[in-house]
Amino acid sequence: MPVLSQTDTHPQVRTPLTGFGWTGVVGMALAIGYHYWSKPVLAVAEFLPPVCTLLLGGILGLAFSGPRRVNPQPVQPPDAMASLQKLLEAHPNLGECFTCPLPPTSSQNHVSSVPPAPVSLPKRLAPLHALLNGTPALTNLLGRQLGEVSSTTETGVLSLMAGLKGVDEQIAKLTTALQDSQTRSTVMHTSADSIIRESAKHLEAFRSYSLGRFERLESDDKAIKSMIAHMESLKPLASSISSIAAQSNMLALNATIEAARAGEAGRGFAVVASEVRNLSKQVDGIAIRIRTELGKIADMASADFSISRHVDERQWLETIQAETERLTEVLKEAVNELSSVAGSASTAAIHVRSSLLEALGHVQFQDITRQQMEVIQKALHECGAQFELAAHYVQNPNSSLEANLPDPDVLLTQLRLSYTTTIQHNIHDVLLDAVPSQEDDDGPSIQLF
């Protein structure tokens, strides 16, 4: 029901619609504030349930709405900004959401001056909007760069661990080879030890034999010499026999001569003499044969003893030779084994060294990730500076943001120029759909000019 004021001659009307109009204003203000500054508005909204908001709007509408004239002349609408300022003065917390400078109210103006146009909230928030619009692209890019750092780190560490594992495997192979070699060496040592002991026994036996042989040799030599001496002593006998035979022959010859001289009486004597001559010749022949045979016997005796000595010694030498050959084989085997072990150790050392050199290359990932992180740090520092400017802008109504805030595209370009690795360029270009520069063409990782 319209309410008529009694204070004016012209009937005036206050309607509930005016109150609801003001409800709309407050509601819109809260919505904008909620959109941009959730926390303070929520703090206020905790104490202002929606129903109370509507009631407040209605009360405000009745309290602040001016009287409406029902006559044909329209009533000048009230100063909305002044009303809003009064509202903000009544609720300071709500006023923190609206720090934009408000134009002076009509009561502050001269009667003849035109009230300035109010600064709209969207215009005030436009630079912030531009800043926030550019943030997701930058944070997304930095996030991907960080992901690449993580990936590089993981790859580097895994490569390093693989290299060290390779070293461990080589050392394990070498250890196995050394253990096998030790086992074979133990067997060879046992075998060689056995052969050496046998050889020692044989050598001892040969030494004993040699000593005894030497003694026997001496006695044999004496015996032989004695035998030869005896045989030599028989030779004069044979000579004597020959001599006697020669003398007998002479006597027989003389007897024959005397028998011839004796004539007929010496005929029988001549026969005897002739027979004696024959006998002496036979005896002489026998003596010669005895002498010859004695010589042969002496030679044969010496030769037989010599052969016997050689046979015995040859057997011993063959035994020793066989033992020596066995020992030599064992030594050869041992030398081959040592050579094999040395070869295995040398090969393993080469592989270990190579693996270590590879590992030393893998640790370099730390320098790469450090440089990538420095770029990201710098970009985040720049982001932080921009948000500081934005916070200052929000807190200081008279400040200007546009002059201090750099163009987001410029920031991204500067970021791209600061990259030091190809992968950083690639991530940037892919995420921002940029055309790769020709300067990004990679060459080989090793190039000598």
Binding site: G156, R353, S354, L356, L357, E358, A359, L360, G361, H362, V363, Q364, F365, Q366, D367, I368, R370, Q371, T420, T421, T422, Q438, E439, D440, D441, D442, G443, S445, I446, Q447, L448, F449
Partner: protein, 124 residues
Amino acid sequence: MSKTILIVDDSATMLMSVKTTLEMGGYKVESASDGVQALDKLKAGLKPDLVITDINMPNMGGMDLIKNARALPGCRFTPILTLTTESQAAKRDEAKKLGATGWLVKPISGNDLLKVVKQVVPGA
């Protein structure tokens, strides 16, 4: 007599990695953490058989080091290799024009590094 190599990098990890690799290869190693330190050593009389330098370093980067080293009488013909994360063709060309002997991209394995060093160091 073993050859001397000067390595220049602002990363302690890189210095350790490259120094250990070269020492395993039988070389004597001197190190510096930026171009200024390296230049000071060269001016003080160090006559390395090879210089290996990073590009992106504080105080003085690798490009400036190459330029200044080439101006020194004792280093005009000393081989200088770059060892860097950079791989762009423009940077390579710039280093080549300044007098670099070769361009190596990180990471480089110890085996490859020793092969390259053997190629560029006279008498290695």
